[in-house]
């Protein structure tokens, strides 16, 4: 009997211990604690979201309040900062180029030995609709009437992501010819641009298409640009004649290589086909190559090395009183022009550079085919602010006649309103 009683003891002990550990109150308490913990975490998350939404609501409320305040402000009070007002007024900007030139030359050229408003650009730009944008530049100067420098439409969403421009524009040939004056490193355009394309670069009306792509790697990017323009060159340019009906076609292959996050090399190949003769078309050819290296350093420092070369392939006729001299025939000529430039920005406000120019004469008698002009220029630029700069330039020019001319330029460039150049 005793043995049977003792044999039940372990069972009894086991049962008692099981009952103690399976106390429902303890389990329930544990479960409740777990639930409370989960609810607390969920509450913290909801609180954080509520705080975020409250901040957003406050932001919207303040925006509504400010819009209500702005709605009572007149245009005059806004001071012309039209981009901050909810209207359809385009971005408007004005860029003034005021230049003083002193030379040894006796010629009464534009701006020679005087201070002048060499150019005033009034710039408008805005989206027309979801597909197109219009950019307009009207230029005025002390020397000529107001003229359209650029007025072109840019269309997006073309097939194959092609970028199209239609209207009057600086065609993207080379580097300097495609730039507005205020984007140049120097007071004057490089001599080859001035003589081949025109005193203010190359601006004509036409159609330009371009596409950008990569081949061997995303750090090497190519851009193909082709265009069709009305005939002629810019003011004083000798590449093409004045006949607008003899069109110009051009092409450019640009290759840009990101050497690093702070350096890039650009190599461009250019070709143009047009006419210098009102009786023919496409008899004048030009080719060019351009090279630019840019290195961006710390704290505004930047080094630019840039060079362009253009060669014309053209018929040349030297006329006397509108007639070919006896015994003199037209001949093919290949005058070339080039420049090489180095510019270094060594601080937020200062940059300095040098440029060499060489251009062979066009339309000269065969025995004078090798006559040329050259220039050495040194320039110093002071950035008064992001919107005003001063530039001092000295230039030693060797003219076709062999004479030398020492020239001094002082240029002030000032911008008001919105003025953003399209990327080159």
């Amino acid at each position: 009997m005793r043995l049977r009683n003792y044999s039940f003891a372990p069972l009894v002990l086991f049962g008692v211990s099981s009952v103690c550990s399976a106390d429902p109150a303890v389990d329930e308490l544990h479960a409740l604690r777990t639930q409370v913990q989960e609810l607390s975490e969920a509450l913290a998350s909801v609180r954080a979201q509520l705080e975020t939404q409250e901040r957003v609501i406050q932001s919207f409320q303040k925006e509504v309040q400010s819009q209500q305040q702005d709605a009572t402000v007149t245009v005059r009070d806004v001071g012309g900062t039209v981009s901050s007002a909810p209207t359809y007024v385009p971005d408007i900007g004005v860029v003034a180029d005021i230049t003083g030139i002193v030379t040894e030359s006796d010629e009464d050229e534009e701006g020679n030995d005087r201070l002048s408003v060499r150019e005033l650009e009034i710039v408008f730009g805005h989206d027309i609709d979801p597909y197109s944008r219009l950019d307009v530049t009207v230029s005025i100067s002390d020397f000529e009437e107001a003229a359209i420098e650029e007025a072109y439409l840019t269309h997006s969403g073309l097939p194959f992501d092609i970028y199209g421009r239609l209207g009057r524009m600086h065609p993207r040939i080379g580097i300097a010819a495609a730039q507005h004056r205020d984007a140049l490193f120097t007071v004057d355009e490089p001599l080859v641009i001035e003589q081949f394309f025109g005193a203010e670069g190359f601006s004509r009306t036409g159609l330009e298409l371009s596409d950008i792509f990569s081949t061997i790697s995303d750090d090497v990017v190519h851009e193909i640009i082709i265009g069709l323009l009305e005939g002629g060159a810019g003011e004083g340019g000798n590449l093409f004649g004045e006949t607008r009906r003899a069109p110009t076609v051009y092409g450019r292959l640009r290759n840009a290589w990101d050497i690093s996050d702070s350096s890039v090399i650009d190599l461009g190949l250019n070709a143009l086909l047009g006419s210098a003769d009102e009786d023919t078309s496409f008899e004048t050819r030009a080719g060019g190559v351009d090279l630019r290296y840019q290195h961006y350093g710390a704290a505004f420092r930047k080094l630019t090395l840039q060079s362009e070369l253009f060669v014309q392939d053209r018929d040349t006729a030297v006329l006397e009183d509108g007639e070919l001299p006896e015994g003199l025939f037209e001949f093919r000529q290949k005058p070339l022009g080039l420049y090489a430039l180095a510019n270094y920005r060594f601080g937020q406000q200062w940059e300095a550079g040098l440029r060499y120019d060489y251009v062979q004469a066009v339309n000269r008698a065969e025995e004078q085919r090798d006559s040329f002009e050259s220039e050495y220029s040194a320039f110093l630029t002071f950035h008064q602010s992001e919107f005003a700069r001063w530039r001092l330039q000295y230039q030693l020019a060797t003219l076709e006649t062999g004479e030398e001319d020492n020239r001094f330029f002082l240029q002030g460039t000032f911008a008001i309103g919105t003025h953003k150049h399209n990327l080159q």
């Binding site: 998350s45 954080a48 975020t52 901040r55 957003v56 406050q58 932001s59 303040k62 400010s66 305040q69 402000v73 009070d77 806004v78 001071g79 900062t81 981009s83 901050s84 989206d127 979801p130 597909y131 944008r133 840019t154 269309h155 997006s156 969403g157 073309l158 992501d161 092609i162 970028y163 199209g164 950008i212 792509f213 990569s214 995303d218 750090d219 990017v221 851009e223 640009r254 840009a256 990101d258 996050d261 702070s262 890039v264 650009d266 840019q294 961006y296 710390a298 704290a299 505004f300 601080g347 937020q348 406000q349 602010s385 992001e386 919107f387 008001i416 953003k420 150049h421 399209n422 990327l423």
Partner: protein, 308 residues
């Protein structure tokens, strides 16, 4: 047979890898900090890049042809909005893509959810310097704005890629939890130093100052965008002699000569702080960037207060 099987297997894996890579969203950001935040939220589902390099002043980036090409191909363009990035308009125009223009379906203006500070009222003129017309645009430096930015990025990625919306939102939640935890710690660390005053080079620290409860009313630039002048440095030196300024702050991409000159004359520490992820090695991600900046500001404030 064996050789051709190996070749086939290799080809298959290559195609699969390319397909997997092709499924990733390509997100281009204007600034490296945004690219880092996109990476936090997007994880392995996105490839990110930025137009502006980390070492450069975001006001003055010069986009390259490669940037135009990247943006042409991008599934999403993330940017600051406002008028910080004046180069953004010409860059977007050069792509010829309406989708990445303001309001386009593949652009994300991060300023939309931000409560902006220093919004000018009434007439504005550049006689007051290069004033930002819509408010101070350097908002990403407030960690609380970082929470908002993460929300916006997650919502946009989910909209563009609804199949993986849960992943984006999950990544967002995890990032938010980490950042929220750090926010609490930073607030605790700065609480006792409320009101500590700093001098800045450019007015780009206002959101971080507000978050920490610090102040920055004086700048080395006499007016926004105008470089420091000797006369202005003298005025600041006189100011520091009679005010409890605890330090001078400038972004690493600004010249440091004016800050060092004032520091030497006033005895104040000069803090060169990164503004963007990747600007220095210690700022490898968003939280590390803020940790670096905040720890140095708090350290300077503590030292300044202990000298009083």
């Amino acid at each position: 047979m064996k050789h051709s099987s190996v070749v086939f297997a290799l080809s298959l894996s290559l195609v699969s890898a390319q397909a997997a890579a092709a499924e990733k969203l390509e997100v281009v950001s204007s600034l490296p900090t945004y690219a880092a935040l996109v990476q936090e939220v997007g994880g392995d589902l996105v490839t990110t890049s930025s137009i502006g390099g980390a070492r450069f002043n975001p006001h003055f980036i010069e986009p390259r042809p490669s940037d135009v090409l990247r943006l042409k191909r991008a599934d999403l363009f993330v940017h600051s909005g406002l008028d910080l990035e004046a180069w953004r308009g010409p860059l977007v125009n050069a792509t010829g893509r309406a989708e990445v223009k303001p309001g386009g379906e593949r652009e994300l203006d991060l300023s939309r959810g931000i409560h902006l500070l220093n919004v000018p009222r009434g007439a504005v003129s550049r006689s007051e310097g290069d004033i930002h017309l819509f408010g101070n645009p350097h908002y990403w430096l407030s960690p609380e704005n970082g929470l908002i930015i993460a929300d916006e990025i997650a919502e946009k990625l989910a909209e563009l890629d609804p199949e993986h919306a849960a992943l984006y939102l999950g990544n967002r939640d995890r990032f938010r939890a980490r950042l929220a935890g750090r926010i609490e710690q930073w607030k605790q660390q700065s609480r006792a130093l409320t009101g500590a005053e700093f001098i800045g080079y450019h007015d780009q620290w206002i959101y971080l100052m507000e978050f920490l409860g610090f102040t920055m009313e004086k700048f080395l630039e006499p007016k926004p965008g105008i470089p420091p002048t000797p006369r202005h440095l003298l005025l600041l030196q006189q100011y520091t002699a009679s005010s409890p300024v605890v330090g001078i702050v400038h972004a690493t991409f600004y010249p440091d000569d004016a800050a060092r000159a004032l520091g030497e004359r006033s005895g104040l520490p000069v803090l060169a702080l990164p503004q963007n992820v990747g600007e220095i090695p210690e700022a490898a991600d968003y939280i590390s960037l803020l940790e670096y900046d905040i720890s140095r500001l708090i350290g300077a404030a503590q030292r300044g207060r202990s000298h009083e």
